[in-house]
């Protein structure tokens, strides 16, 4: 035990970048969000918001509307409970304040420029750059809105004040759909960048 502590203090690269609770909740969320998106696309197909946009069976889950709803209303518990635990822990431990803020527009612009010219440094994974900060803070916000808009579609009578906040049932459906689109766009960039910087992926699996 004492030797383990010793190695930790002497060799700084082995310090924990992603604590266990972040990793556990990250991968739980990954499973939940994929189940929600795939089943959600099947639900969407039953009454498409855009006439020319429907989704192939190969990327949907549930087989038909009833099956998709069973998946959607099961995975929502995983998403909501895990998400709520993440928000509480993120605020309580000060991780959000430390990792995600402050964000400045100038910083974001200069980091985006650096990223696009391949000059953005990834040497210290424990510190997020401005692009990461705005994307991670942004996707948490989108996550909150997609859950709230989902609840207002599910319970437009019991939670009618929430539904009204979104401008009514029909508009809440669009909000829910656009949040999903934002999450899919985020996922594409997120997965691509994780593959381009493999040590960041390693940190999310083994912690360092």
């Amino acid at each position: 035990m004492s030797s383990l502590t010793a190695t930790r203090t002497t060799t700084s690269p082995s310090k924990v970048i992603q604590p266990a609770w972040v990793r556990a909740m990250h991968w739980t969320n990954a499973v939940a969000i994929i189940l929600m998106i795939m089943s959600g696309l099947q639900v969407y197909n039953a009454s498409p918001l855009f006439r020319s946009l429907t989704f192939s069976h190969s990327i949907t889950l549930g087989g038909w509307l009833g099956g998709a709803l069973l998946w959607h209303f099961a995975a929502m518990w995983l998403l909501m409970i895990n998400g709520l635990a993440y928000l509480i822990t993120g605020f309580a431990t000060g991780r959000f304040a430390k990792k995600l803020f402050p964000i400045s527009i100038r910083g974001v612009i200069s980091d985006v420029t650096a990223a696009l010219t391949f000059k953005l440094s990834h040497d210290d994974l424990s510190k997020y750059n401005q692009v990461q900060k705005i994307l991670y803070a942004g996707i948490i916000a989108v996550g909150i809105v997609i859950v709230l808009s989902g609840l207002s579609i599910w319970k437009p009578v019991q939670l009618q004040y929430l539904t009204a906040l979104f401008g009514g049932y029909d508009i809440a459906r669009y909000v829910h759909f656009f949040c999903m689109s934002a999450i899919v766009a985020f996922l594409a960039i997120h997965v691509l960048l994780a593959l381009l910087v493999p040590k960041s992926l390693r940190a999310m699996i083994i912690g360092r």
Binding site: W27, S47, W64, F73, K155
Partner: protein, 261 residues
């Protein structure tokens, strides 16, 4: 399959029976939802539960759906009214929606029709349309929300179901009002008693101030603005007050049974 085997009756042509059974499944894809689990094989590694085994996935989903029934019953507020709208907000034309084409909708002769009342009620007399029309009626303009996602605002007029339940001396401590309908292949649906007693739950005789047209359920539908559309029976022929869960046309195929809004 076990369920189908139980249905086999000696002397009944099995092939015809299977043919009929297939007709009850309007879309074969409906039964395929389990197979969706197979494509998620990779997730088995992450979740530890065997998603590949479709029957265990189906069992798990059914159990969560039952939990969701209980959860929705728990958060159901009998005093929460579905939002109402001005007449100008009514959707025109109001959509016809069923698991069959409009030409296959039941054609009921109002003069012959009677509402059968069964189960845990003091007075089991059947009601003619003429008798039902004499009961006090109220109008509501509310949003009909389909399980598919679309919604439409309509105007329904009729007798609050709770007034009728009181009139026939129903045991309102019973769990369900179970409705049977004249739709082809026999639509039926259970309605939990607390929702049946909700002030806006209505035995509907009129749509948009006109006698309920065939498309919307003549002679009587049950309008339940606190439930999804498929829990709003049309062409009702009988009502049974019961403690038994008797299933329903859509509920048996996998739609969540409570499906409250």
């Amino acid at each position: 399959m076990g369920r189908l085997r139980k249905l086999l009756i000696p002397g009944v042509d099995k092939q015809l029976l299977v043919k009929d059974a297939t007709k009850v499944m309007p879309d074969l894809a409906r039964r395929r939802f389990i197979s969706g689990g197979a494509s998620l094989g990779a997730l088995t590694l992450l979740t530890g539960c065997d998603v590949l085994d479709s029957s265990s996935a189906e069992e798990m989903l059914k159990r969560v759906s039952k939990f969701n029934d209980a959860f929705q019953a728990f958060i159901f507020n009998p005093d929460a009214m579905a939002p109402t709208f001005p007449e100008s907000a009514i959707t025109k034309p109001f959509p016809f929606n069923a698991y069959y084409e409009i030409d296959d909708a039941p054609e009921i002769d109002g003069a012959d029709w009677k509402l059968e009342v069964r189960g845990l009620v003091d007075n089991k007399k059947s009601w003619t349309l003429e008798e039902l029309y004499k009961l006090p009626q109220v109008k509501q303009v509310t949003r009909h929300i389909c399980v598919e996602g679309w919604s439409a605002i309509g105007s329904w007029t009729g007798t609050p179901l709770r007034d009728f339940l009181k009139l026939v001396g129903a045991d309102t401590r019973a769990k369900y009002c179970w409705f049977q309908c004249a739709d082809k292949e026999g639509y039926n649906s259970p309605l939990d008693m607390r929702t049946a007693l909700h002030p806006q739950t209505q035995m509907t005789f009129k749509f948009g101030d006109e006698i309920l047209p065939r498309a919307y359920g003549f002679p009587m539908k049950i309008r339940v603005p606190t439930k999804l559309g498929f829990k709003n029976p049309k062409y009702v022929i009988s009502m049974e007050v019961t403690n038994d869960y008797k299933g329903g046309y859509w509920e048996d195929q996998g739609y969540n049974s409570f499906s409250g809004s």
